[in-house]
Symmetry: D2
Subunit: 394 residues, 4 copies
């Protein structure tokens, strides 16, 4: 059994070959009305059709950015998901946050990182290569710039163990998520270093990047964007909208996100950061494998003096973009337009997107922790299991 997909280069043609080979029908996969020219030439080899994911909207969510003009804006949030209750959960969090005056967010562009690994043989080689890199930053920056006008080398951290020397290169890729650009620039840089020093690069990626693996280096040094978002929820909003108290929610947070994660040996000290990021990423054409970085988020709660609740989140490894990758596809581009940040804007769009992600994650944390404190999580799932998604109260 083996289909030769090369005999037919159209999407429908390949699909028919597959249907024939497996004697199945794939009418829905083939039912899209969207033009597939970009998708089949830039996004997906051997394309046979389209997977369709329900797209819901939560919000509005009031967000104040600490950066630049410190604007306060309201956002509707596109969430592509097959998991009933997720949109409702985020929506409830948005409502409570917006009723509380909105969330404040701050962000830091760390940059797309790529870490080639060199064979330096031994301690002596390590010293030589490290000295070379420290003295030739300008030449290496020039290598990066020559690969793309949108890519600049921000910095390098050096990491050695035994014969292996890792150069963790950090790139500013403006509004692109930038891993492809970073790989191309890193390749140019390592080849230059090879030519100049004689040290051989073993691999353009040595996992010190660290791309799509939960990693302390990303938590500590950051990757992509680092985002903080927080809010104070007044006691009355807790009662009216979230049906709980600051003390009850705090107790859930403590035993779950803190001590529970400690017991589990977990790198994620949060309630459900991965859920929210997955839905936002799929809706907006991000790389969904980067959900991994978001799963390492940290959520912090505190009871304020007047029984208000302080809640915050930190994401240290958030790789997002508003150009390139899946962002140019028809439905994904429209989802970005719901957020008002489709396309390139000198890096401002990707940064604003990172901050929006942080804010929505905060809404998700608030809602799930409330639901757990209230004891209503199972109730929602029971309703769901009976097809009563619409009437579920969130």
């Amino acid at each position: 059994m083996s289909i030769n997909f090369r005999t037919n280069k159209s999407v429908s043609g390949r699909r028919r070959l597959l249907e024939k080979e497996l004697t199945i029908d794939l009418p829905n996969i083939g039912s899209s009305a969207i033009d597939d020219t970009i998708a089949r030439t830039r996004n997906c080899e051997n394309m046979v059709g389209w997977t369709q994911i329900p797209l819901g909207v939560a919000g509005p969510l009031t967000i104040t950015s600490m950066n630049d003009e410190r604007l306060t804006m309201n956002y509707y949030l596109p969430l592509a998901t097959t998991e009933g209750a997720l949109v409702a959960s985020v929506n409830r969090g948005c409502k409570a946050i917006t009723q509380s005056g909105g969330t404040t967010v701050d962000s830091e562009r760390v940059g797309a990182t790529r870490a080639p690994v060199f064979d330096v043989k031994n301690v002596t080689g390590k010293k030589k290569l490290e000295e070379y890199v420290r003295r030739n930053m300008k030449a290496l920056q020039k290598c990066a710039q020559e690969t793309s006008g949108h890519c600049s080398l921000r910095g390098i951290t050096l990491h050695n163990v035994g014969p292996y020397e890792y150069l963790r290169l950090s790139f500013d890729t403006q509004d692109a998520m930038g891993m492809n650009m970073a790989t191309i620039a890193a390749t140019s840089i390592y080849r230059y270093i090879e030519a100049q020093t004689g040290f051989r690069c073993i691999s353009v990626s040595g996992n010190v990047c660290a791309d799509k693996k939960p990693s302390a280096i990303n938590t500590i040094l950051g990757r992509g964007f680092r985002v903080w978002a927080d809010v104070v929820i007044p006691k009355k909003v807790l009662m009216a909208t979230l049906k709980t108290t600051a003390q009850n929610l705090y107790e859930v947070w403590m035993s779950k996100c803190m001590t529970g994660s400690v017991v589990a040996g977990s790198m994620g000290h949060n309630a459900q950061t991965a859920n929210i990021v997955a839905a936002l990423f799929i809706a907006t054409g991000q790389d969904p494998a980067h959900v991994t970085g978001a799963s390492c988020g940290t959520t912090i709660a505190r009871v304020e003096d007047n029984e208000d609740l302080y809640l915050s989140i930190l994401l240290s490894d958030l790789m997002v973009g508003t150009v390139g990758g899946g962002t140019g596809l028809a439905t994904q581009k429209e989802a970005l337009s719901i957020l008002g940040i489709s396309g390139g804007n000198n890096g401002k769009n990707s940064k604003l997107f990172a901050e929006i992600v942080g804010a929505v994650v905060l809404a998700g944390e608030l809602s799930l922790l409330s639901s757990l404190a209230e004891g209503s999580l199972a109730k929602a799932h029971v309703a769901l299991s009976r097809g009563k998604l619409q009437s579920t109260k969130f």
Copy 2:
């Protein structure tokens, strides 16, 4: 600004409200021909349309399962992705594995885990609750069974720190991924324990589960399915199909998946397990936030005496299902039918799916490690950046 979505309960009606509010057009999000009855009632609240993801196919991939009948089968693999080169990369790995006689896979059903946390006050309370649980397993199993005929309690591990007692409940949920079932059953169990012992449950989930967070407890005790897959690639296949040697690939693996991950303080010792799982999960209606568990996979390489390459992967936290969640949606159901495992089959379909996921992850690892060893990763991305996806040689 605030739209009242409740005034219009149709998908198109909500979309029009959003378009009007934001003065934007969302024609593509609204372009689907698929009936939205199930989606808007079971999978997604506030639904406004569909996100469409390109679906490609890789394969065939020859897989031999160590379980039961030890059948050898060929599979075509549905991959929903917006990341150019991914399908081609997997395809190349499938080709090399299949040329080498296929991969052998083994799996273990650990079960969907959910860990309620109780307030036991102190060491004395800990002892009491732990003794209660050990003596009343049958009653607790009955609680679980009463919530669903498809859900049975397999076991409980006890974890205490300070006043917090975590009962990590493991459920067999047959062909469903099962987190909703597990949550409902865990709720029934904790309420029973509360009634019987007087100890209060703080939260039905205490992160010792651990759900969608990278966690050592999942790596060590397992979660969902634990899957192993391996293959020996003969020297000639390495040369002809993968353009590399066992020694070169091994060196990349060592400096990247082993020492690189150590330097990064990473829980993922692999090349790109998250990428492959994300594409398979989105295509087949899995919960994409579970990509997190897959990102903790471990890849092991070894050079055999005759310069063949041994390669294996281990995924310890693989949550999959063939019924429930997004698996019933039109395009996702068809993707599962490509694998021949749509719907329920006494737990056999979910187990087979887990094994297929393991096998495809192996193909992805083989292909990327080869590409890194060959030095061709950037080349592929350069081609991609020029819109030349089709002609990229993989």
Copy 3:
């Protein structure tokens, strides 16, 4: 330069060779009046003298064990240390705990673990070896027993990745810490398995043990003893003895042992468990490299309704013994006699020792957290730096 120590087998003779070679004097290293027969034949090769460490005493500390007879006892605690303020700090913690009615401790004997690693080649070999082990537990237990009447195999957990199969063997070694016994028994077991199955053992230790490395497997499955200790400190004791409040101490604990350790990517969620264990271990002849396991301890605080403080510790990797190793040396044996647990007692002495260690660690945590809350840590160190150790108020 090279001394041939074999030319002189007496301790003083070797020391003189060293003094001559380096033209230095080592009068204090040679000043001990203790007989060196046991030390130079069982504890230390190439012995040239003795290192002398100041031994202080803290206490009394009131401890109630949850095990067996639930006895309440008072203990004086031998602490060998060169770090000024340590004994005083522990002493203050003991005072506060004893004033509060003492600490309650519970313990679980997990056993000394040793994990040989086998080459099983592939998934097929993995299945074979695992089935063999599951079916032959009695034979393997017999192997262990034949190596020593004090050593019995309690259980085996199986861990596979790629061609490597780890058998984490857990042994009950009664009152001995037991690593030497465990290594001997593990050797007997792996050789038996090699002979029976043909699978080759690569190393008697494959780090899944995991011996003297901070490891999640020890935290989750335990190693040696797992010990819990807790106490409620009334508000008045907090004020009078510890000069702080429950709320202030809690805030320090939260920002340090919880969120601080999360930010640091730490496996230790405590204040100073390593300090206390190091001093107790050196005084009593334990293996000081096992301090590593203790550094992974978890400390939990909570404010009780009446502003009392609940404090607890958990140590999951505590390897201790009252016979063997350094416990038979003259001063170490006397230190154990201060605790009333010198020598063997059917495993009861080692278990009681583990519980005492847990209790003293709790005292150390209480004292340091109080000191940090009060802001007096630097004050103590300033006094110390001026040689005023005696007058430091603790």
Copy 4:
């Protein structure tokens, strides 16, 4: 029961009170001929005598430092231990390394770190405090200098989560290990910041330091000294001295230090770094709780083309000093004089000591890995258990 130690301030007086209270005899604890003036006033409160540890010597070990003059020197190594076989094991490693021309070491002074935690309330406060710190480095450096002429602030890294802001201060403390100095300087700094900004410091230590807890931040950013040491062992030395081959040792290393540690979820990727550091630290008056940092060391092996073995170690969290703490005690000072580095020397002694520690750790790794590869570990322990330590062949 409660002894009032304050009634008698002499060491012997306290000991007699204890003996009387417990009706035991402590003649050996009281048998030291060393003057106790310094010990009882600076190192240990409530001192009742001395713990005596056997001191052995290994070596010579040939070490070439990459720093400064790149001197090659031979060292005898003082090891205080109660664990039979340890000195012999290190000795064998030293012999093989010295026969191979010695080890090359490199080191980097990262500095003693202390991380006060401030309450910044929220994202807005975070921004304010971080901007303050960035703009006032000179003033903060002045604060540090005023506390001690031996202490200078090298740098600060900022870490925020929720309301908690951690300032990881790094100090150069010359030849002192420096934690006390660092704590005093950090106190001065935080009080200055409190006065200037109004933000309250919750605790002078917030575990981002991270002191005596295994922590990724120490592995990634370093702490104290970071040390690399490596060696190439020729095939003939492997055969003659270590009774193994590069390939066999490599296989043990791979399955133990790499894949085994991955399976164990360990932060230590080594064989026995903690053992060696514990013995060296106790002999030389270091703080033995810092063994924790050394247990996180990484060992890397590689087979060279000609079947020689490359072996290296990396310690990233090595806190050592040659003045202060226990280094001034009689026997400890003599042990440092064996290494030729007793006392202060403008930071050169502590740096050299760190390099020596790295070199000895390498010797320990080489020896144990060889022993495991040869299968002789149990044999040594069997001999030991029969009191035949002297005749054990290492």
